[in-house]
């Protein structure tokens, strides 16, 4: 065979296979669960890596809801958990895996906004519903894709609530720090913007690097500005160090942060005495009976397990209401009906009443403010009346 004909032949063969590929899937469509097969709920969360603690906490929340449900119209329910690495590329792979699995009815996830953003585009293509317990980026709902819901809040809601709280306490001179992440920066900018509309003054807006250990340079820079408040948008790993180092540098300001710092282990315990008197915004306190039950099964809860529990619960409720049992015991789930059932959710969950607006965001006040208090030698979060 002459040398040149080989590539030509192969390109032709590849082009042929390419053109013979089936066209994209039809709009919406149905899921059919054969008799004897389980109904599966997919879950994408971080199981290995920096925030695995938070990811496994989310997994436990959803797992608990699935265990409690047990059966849907005679079919067992199974939670299939995959490690989404809190990032885009693995989340996209998992989204393809879930959307092509004929037994998966819907997905709880993905954990981080960086994963949920590209993954939601794939879910939208296959019209498979997803409920994120923890992705808070504004763009997820502002794009108006029909299959995305979340049981947490978006960044703007949380940041505005934090700014309202600061203004109500009269802390109007604020220094704002963030961790240069999608999450932290969005919060910090929305906080600053909203505080200014409430008559506040933003003295500094500084980005720090995730994974850094020493924030004294930036804190030393802030100190002479004499802020009344330091707002930090980011996660507990950096937040706790900012709190500790604020004391060392001698900044007397109040500290206010976001749900990334709402963790007993990584913020209160790691922060020690310095954490006392800090404020964080987080969801309304979940039902104490539920918390007791959860902690008896999995140990101390962290951040988003109640949201994951609620997400899985309402997803299973929607599946149950949309599924039609066939004479041969198989289930037929119309994807459009499933989505509409989810959108119409009105459920008293462990994180409060769950109702969605047209974009998939929760309506009503979902964010509360907590203070780290010390009583009888123990430090814990206590909700602040606001």
């Amino acid at each position: 065979m002459p040398r040149r004909s080989l590539p030509t032949l192969l390109s032709a063969a590849i082009l042929f296979v390419f053109l013979s590929l089936p066209a994209a899937a039809a709009e919406w469509g149905t899921i059919r669960i054969p008799s004897g097969s389980p109904v599966k709920i997919g879950m994408g969360t971080m199981l290995t890596g920096d925030y695995a603690g938070m990811g496994i906490d989310i997994m436990h929340g959803a797992e608990m809801a699935v265990k409690e449900k047990g059966l849907i119209l005679g079919h067992p329910v199974i939670l299939q958990v995959e490690d989404d690495g809190c990032a885009g590329p693995p989340s996209v792979v998992i989204a393809e895996k879930f959307c092509n699995d004929p037994l998966i009815a819907g997905v709880v996830g993905y954990m981080c906004s960086g994963g949920s953003k590209p993954a939601s585009d794939i879910h939208n293509k296959y019209k498979m519903v997803m409920i994120s317990p923890s992705s808070t980026a504004l763009e997820l709902t502002s794009r108006k894709i029909p299959i995305f819901f979340r049981t947490c809040w978006n960044d703007r809601i949380q940041a505005q609530r934090a700014a309202d709280f600061a203004a109500s306490r009269g802390w109007l001179r604020a220094a704002v720090l963030h961790d240069k992440s999608d999450y932290g920066q969005s919060l910090a900018e929305d906080f600053a913007q909203h505080l200014e509309t409430r008559g506040g003054e933003v003295l500094a807006m500084e980005g720090v690097t995730r994974g850094d250990k020493d924030f004294s340079p930036v804190l030393t820079k802030i100190k002479p500005l004499r802020p009344q408040l330091v707002y930090f948008g980011g996660m507990s790993a950096e937040g706790v160090l900012v709190v500790r180092q604020m004391q060392r540098v001698g900044i007397r300001a109040k500290f206010l942060s976001d749900d990334g710092c709402f963790t007993e282990k990584d913020f209160i315990q790691a922060g020690g005495r310095a954490a006392t008197g800090s404020f964080v915004t987080y969801a309304q306190e979940p039902d104490p009976a539920w918390v007791a039950h959860f902690e008896s099964m999995y140990g101390p809860r962290q951040t988003f397990s109640p949201q994951a529990y609620d997400a899985a619960t309402i997803l299973l409720m929607a599946v149950e209401s949309a599924a039609e049992r066939q004479p041969d015991d198989s289930l037929l789930i119309d994807k459009r009906r499933l989505r509409d059932a989810l959108a119409a959710t009105d459920h008293e969950g462990v994180t409060g009443r769950i109702v969605f607006d047209t974009n998939g965001d929760r309506t009503g006040s979902v964010v509360a403010v907590y203070e780290v208090v010390e009583e009888g030698g123990k430090r814990f979060f206590r909700k602040v009346p606001f």
């Binding site: 065979m1 080989l6 590539p7 192969l10 390109s11 063969a13 590849i14 296979v17 390419f18 590929l21 994209a24 199981l47 290995t48 958990v81 995959e82 490690d83 990032a87 885009g88 590329p89 996209v92 792979v93 393809e96 895996k97 959307c99 092509n100 699995d101 960086g114 953003k117 590209p118 585009d121 293509k125 980026a137 763009e139 794009r143 240069k180 992440s181 999608d182 999450y183 932290g184 920066q185 969005s186 980005g207």
Partner: protein, 326 residues
């Protein structure tokens, strides 16, 4: 007893190559969307591996900042084909531009590091990779900072959008074939021989009349251009990119797959990508122990095949195979 690699060499290369390409071409409809997606990821890493192999494997320049060119390619396309600036330049027009941008980045890195060798080179390139990521993260007005670029346009082939994993697979396959072909031709050319002479002993090569500056720059530029193409494909395929996608870990992974496959060997790089990127997906069933089992497998492999799975023929001991006259 003959090793599997020795047996493989008995089969005429043209037949082997056709068999591999043919089986690669019929794969997607057989394996479905999920595995096509995984294979696409592997393919992108193959392109990166082939590109970095030019720099590290052929020319012997240890580059730890390779992800920078990947990032340049990805952001190059994403900025011109997303709502960020409301521009929607077609993919096929942007692809050569991204390649050129990355190549320019390669030259830009090449110039200051021309005098550096070994560890020093590694450190400077490492810094370069981080600089590009930090710029992408901090240059909010241009790159939208950590919030990333969303809704990136897919490429179109005629009127058909390339928007599902199986279609992407073919585009990436074509890219990998082109990259492998180009790298193979380079390797067996005057340039390739100059690189290898430089890798083995830079001073001796210079004495023999090889223009070290020119060939080092050429290695960086050409190596980077592969990553530029890979980056554009990555951005268009993901539909959303963030600076955190271009972390040091990508450079390390690409370097790992070259080392696992066999430095300087193109089939080695391809096999390395399959193992390094494919294996974690296969191991998904083991959940939390996935990375642990993956690490253990890598360690075992390095014990039993320290020079890589398919080492380059020039790197084998002289007695192993008669060489073509050059």
């Amino acid at each position: 007893m003959k090793s599997p690699a020795a047996l493989l060499r008995k089969i005429p290369p043209a037949v082997l190559l056709s068999a591999v390409i043919f089986s690669a071409a019929v794969l997607p409809p057989l394996v479905g969307n999920y595995w096509s997606q995984v294979l696409g990821d592997i393919g992108i890493y193959m392109m990166l591996g082939i590109g970095l192999n030019v720099v590290v494997g052929f020319a012997g320049l240890l580059d730890l900042g390779y992800v920078a060119f990947f990032g340049i390619g990805a952001y190059g396309y994403a900025l011109m084909a997303s709502p960020q600036f409301g521009m929607h330049v077609p993919f096929w027009l942007m692809l050569p531009v991204c390649v050129a941008l990355a190549a320019a980045g390669g030259a830009l890195l090449g110039v200051p590091v021309l005098r550096l060798r070994g560890d020093y080179l590694a450190i400077v390139t490492l810094g370069f990779g981080e600089i590009i990521r930090v710029i992408l993260n901090n240059l909010d007005p241009l790159t939208n900072g950590p919030r990333g670029l969303l809704r990136i346009d897919p490429p179109f082939l005629g009127a058909t959008p390339i928007n599902n994993p199986q279609r992407w697979y073919y585009l990436i396959l074509a890219g990998v074939l082109l990259a492998a072909f180009t790298a193979d031709r380079l390797n067996n050319s005057r340039i390739g021989r100059a690189w290898i002479a430089m890798r083995e002993d830079q001073d001796a090569a210079a004495v023999m009349g090889i223009d070290i500056l020119k060939y080092k720059l050429l290695a960086f530029t050409i190596g980077a251009s592969f990553a530029g193409a890979g980056g554009a494909i990555f951005a268009a395929r993901q539909g959303a990119i963030f600076p955190e996608n271009f972390s040091l870990m990508v450079s390390i992974n690409v370097l790992c797959l070259i080392i696992i496959g066999g430095m300087g060997s193109i089939p080695g790089v391809i096999l390395g990508a399959i193992v390094l990127i494919g294996l974690p997906e296969v191991l998904r069933g083991t959940e939390q122990y996935r990375m642990l089992s993956f690490g253990a497998l890598l360690v075992i492999m390095m014990i039993f095949r320290p020079s890589g799975l398919l080492p380059a023929s020039r790197r084998r001991p002289a007695a192993a195979a008669p060489r073509e006259p050059e």
